[in-house]
Symmetry: C3
C-alpha cells in the first residue's frame, strides 16, 4: 500500500479569505496508484486553516462574521505588542480552525457531501502564496 | 494492509442535537480484518460535525450554549437572505466544528479515554437521516 | 506497511495551559520503520485538545483569551451543577478544539511549517499527567 505526497500552491489575498480548493485536491488524485484510503489536506504554517463548508457567497460572509466574533481584529493582541506583526488574530483563528482535514477516499472519489467543499482560510494580514500538502495513503 | 469503508445511518432531530455514536462506530469494527490502524469518522454534508466529549446531559447543554454563543440562531445570516433555507447558522457551526475525526485503533480497540465519546452534532434546522462514514486503514 | 503506536506522558498544570509537544512527537519518530505516511496525535480524555500554533508567549496569551471568550469560566455550567466537578468549561473547550490532529510525514520529517508547533491544551481545572498517543501509519 503506497503513500503518496502531493502538493499544490495557491495565491491568496489573506485577510481571512476563504478559498474553495476542492478542484485542486481532486486534480491531484486523478492519476495516482491509490484508489481507496484517505486524503489528508494539510496547510503548513500557523496563520491558515482547513475545513469544509458549502461554498456559497452568503455562507462565506456568515463564516467570516463568526470568525471575527471569535477573534476580533480590533482587540489587543500580545503577539502584536511583542512582534509588531499585526497578525495576532490570524494565529489565534488558525489554531481554532485547525491545519488538517482528513477525507475518506473510495474508488478514486472523495466521500464529500454534494454541497460540501474543502476550503483553505488564509487568516494572515497580507496576500500569501500558500503550499497545500495532500498526503494520500491507501491501496 | 487493507482499507475498509463502512457506514451507518442515524436519525437525528437536527437543531444542534448531539448524538453519541460511539456504539455504532465500535460495532463496525468488531468483525473486520484490521486490528490496528486508524478509524476516520466522517460526516458528508455541510450542516453537521463530529467531535468527542464526555457524553453527559449537563455537558451537552453546556456545549449547546457555547455553540449558540459562537453562531447564534437569532442574528442575520446572508445565506438565509440568499437562499431562504433558514439554516445559515448550521453551515457556520458545522465549518467551525469540522466534519472529520480520526481515532487510533489498536488490537481492535479505539484508544478513546474512559469518559470520551464520539459525537455527531446535527446543526440543521430539521430532522435528518445522516449517513456516517467510517474509513479504516491498518493491518 | 506497518502501523506503530507510540505514546508519551507529560505533566501539565491544567487551567488551559498550552504545552508545545513538538519535540516529544518528533523524538518518537526518530527510530521507527516508517519514513513516510501520517502521524495522528491523539489525546484520550475529554478535557484536553490538540492543535498547532506558533508557540510564542504572546500568541499563547491571545489564544487563552479567545478560549476564555468562547467558554468563559465564570458562567453557569450544567455539568458543574450536576457533578460538582467545577470543570464544565473544560469539557466544552475540549470538544470545540478537538482531540485529534493528523500530520503528514515524509522522509522522517513532519511536514509542519517553520513556525508551526504541535500543542496540547489541558483545559482541566487541576494539574494532570497526560498520556498522548501517536499513531503512525506508512511505509
Amino acid at each position: 500500500m503506497p503513500v503518496i505526497t502531493k502538493n499544490f500552491t495557491i495565491e491568496t489575498q489573506g485577510h481571512s479569505q476563504i478559498l474553495d480548493i476542492t478542484k485542486q485536491v481532486k486534480s491531484q488524485i486523478l492519476n495516482i496508484s491509490i484508489s481507496s484510503g484517505i486524503a489528508v489536506v494539510f496547510i503548513p504554517g500557523s496563520t491558515a486553516g482547513i475545513t469544509s463548508i458549502e461554498y456559497e457567497s452568503g455562507v462565506m460572509q456568515d463564516l467570516a462574521a463568526a470568525i471575527e466574533r471569535l477573534a476580533p481584529k480590533s482587540i489587543h493582541y500580545n503577539h502584536d505588542a511583542r512582534w509588531g506583526d499585526g497578525n495576532g488574530y490570524a494565529h489565534v483563528r488558525a489554531a481554532l480552525i485547525g491545519a488538517s482535514f482528513t477525507i475518506p477516499l473510495q474508488d478514486k472519489q472523495l466521500l464529500l457531501g454534494t454541497w460540501q467543499q474543502i476550503v483553505l482560510i488564509d487568516f494572515d494580514n497580507r496576500p500569501r502564496t500558500r503550499k497545500v500538502i495532500l498526503q494520500l495513503i491507501g491501496e
